[in-house]
């Protein structure tokens, strides 16, 4: 179909060309027309081949996309086709904006702001705590120092009391021992005296016997 229509246009073009050529230079008509015919036959061959190629490629694409092929028959596309879609889109956009503001930007924004403020409060609270910590540290060191002095006092007291107790005990022991010694020595003297007293008549008796024997 394509090739046939093209050959028709080609032949008509040829006729026109021939007429003009005849008018311009009648003597060179034969040569020119011969040349033109050869060009046209070559051109026709090429056209036939191209038509065949485009038909086969086109047929494949047409098989793949029947829907698109149908559209080829329809009105030419309008790229910059402004119509009532524009105001509708604008209104839709404004509706979407109000809707998203109500359900998204405002409530989520509030959550974000609240969280920010909360964190800021917590952070400032942490900064305030540094004073507290210092105070507590001072207190703790004071308590430790107090405890140290108290412990030292206790130790010295204990040492002192232990010392006095020890000396007291020692003195008491010494007294006791002295008393025992006294008692023991007194008893010894007494026993010596007793023994001497007991021995005195015997000694006298023995002396009398010695004197009698001697005498």
């Amino acid at each position: 179909m394509n090739a046939a229509s093209r050959s028709v246009t080609a032949t008509s073009a040829k006729k026109a060309f021939l007429a003009s050529a005849r008018r311009v230079a009648a003597t060179r008509v034969v040569r020119t027309s011969a040349k033109a015919t050869s060009t046209f036959t070559f051109g026709k061959d090429l056209q036939n081949k191209l038509a065949l190629a485009s038909k086969t490629v086109g047929a494949q694409l047409l098989l793949a996309l029947p829907a698109l092929a149908e559209e080829a028959e329809k009105e030419p596309g309008k790229l910059f086709d402004f119509d009532f879609t524009l105001p509708i889109m604008a209104v839709q956009f404004l509706v979407l904006m109000v809707f998203l503001d109500k359900t998204w930007f405002s409530p989520v924004g509030k959550v974000l702001d609240d969280r920010d403020e909360n964190l800021r409060n917590i952070l400032s609270g942490v900064q305030d705590n540094t004073g507290d910590v210092k105070k507590m540290e001072d207190e703790a060191s004071k308590v430790v120092a107090d405890a140290r002095t108290e412990a030292a006092n206790l130790i010295t007291d204990a040492k002192k009391s232990a010392e006095t107790e020890g000396t007291e005990k020692l003195a008491a022991l010494k007294k006791k021992l002295d008393a025992q010694y006294e008692a023991a020595s007194a008893q010894l003297v007494k026993e010596e005296d007793d023994a001497r007293k007991a021995l005195e008549p015997e000694i006298e008796k023995l002396a009398k016997q010695i004197v009698e024997k001697v005498a």
Binding site: S54, K55, V57, G58, L61, L62, L65, A67, L68, A69, E71, A72, K74, P76, G77, K78, L79, F80, D81, F82, D83, F84, T85, L86, P87, I88, M89, A90, Q92, F93, L94, V95, L96, M97, V98, F99, L100, D101, T103, W104, F105, P107, V108, G109, V111, L112, D114, R115, N118
Partner: protein
């Protein structure tokens, strides 16, 4: 011949819904409703039960809000950015989800009588609507803050710059509109043509690039909207 015809087929084809006086692009509205619904569902599901320690979807919504607030804060400034967060945020979320839906969802599987489904942002009406709203927003921001003296900025820093300053009010929405439209349409076309030619593996790098550009374009649109609003809120002396 046929190849080029098929590759360029989807360009500018629309599913027209007509009433007696007006026509609208059905495929753009359908996908935009899908995106509106998706954002609505995410918003309700993620933010219906907010906790001080986030869980699940709340992480996503909080992260995106922080991201949006950051954009607004850097472009508009610490004091005045809060009231513009909804506008910039909606621009960012709508464009981002639209672009990614075009790049990730197989819209073309659903056949329409004419045209094909795709990202709403590959229709010039959508991007023009967003760009015009941005223009209105920055005019509103400036006039609400400074009143009539807002228009002094046209003769600043020097009166001979007046034509350029006036021109800027036209170039801003135009560039916003065509940048987004062109990027998204071009990306979808490149991927579409490559899919026609080599429907295996070869388009994948370009698809990934498309995901990247889609995200960048959403960021660029939101950032520029913020910058324009910030510019008109700025104090001139």
């Amino acid at each position: 011949m046929n190849l080029a015809t098929i590759a360029s087929l989807s360009v500018g084809q629309h599913l027209y819904w007509r009433t007696e006086s007006v026509a609208v692009h059905g495929e753009t509205l359908l996908t935009s409703w899908f995106i509106l619904g998706l954002l609505g569902i995410v918003s309700i599901a993620g933010n219906s039960n907010l906790k001080s320690i986030p869980e699940g979807l709340q992480n996503v919504t909080e992260f995106s809000l922080e991201f949006i607030r950051d954009i607004a804060k850097t472009q508009i400034g610490e004091e005045e950015h809060k009231e513009w967060v909804p506008f910039i945020g909606t621009i960012f979320l709508f464009i981002f989800v639209s672009n990614w839906s075009g790049a990730l969802l197989p819209w073309r599987v659903i056949e329409l009588p004419n045209g094909e489904l795709g990202a709403p942002t590959n229709d010039i009406n959508t991007t023009a609507a967003l760009a015009l709203l941005t223009s209105i927003a920055y005019f509103y921001a400036g006039i609400a803050k400074k009143g009539i003296s807002y228009f002094k900025r046209y003769v600043e820093p020097a009166p001979f710059l007046l034509p350029i300053n006036v021109l800027e009010d036209f170039t801003k929405p135009l560039s916003l509109c065509f940048r987004l439209f062109g990027n998204i349409l071009a990306d979808e076309l490149v991927v579409g043509v490559l899919l026609l030619l080599v429907p295996l593996l070869v388009p994948v790098p370009l698809m990934l690039l498309g995901l990247f550009t889609s995200a960048i374009q959403a960021l660029v649109f939101a950032t520029l909207a913020g910058a324009y609003i910030g510019e008109s809120l700025e104090d001139h002396h």
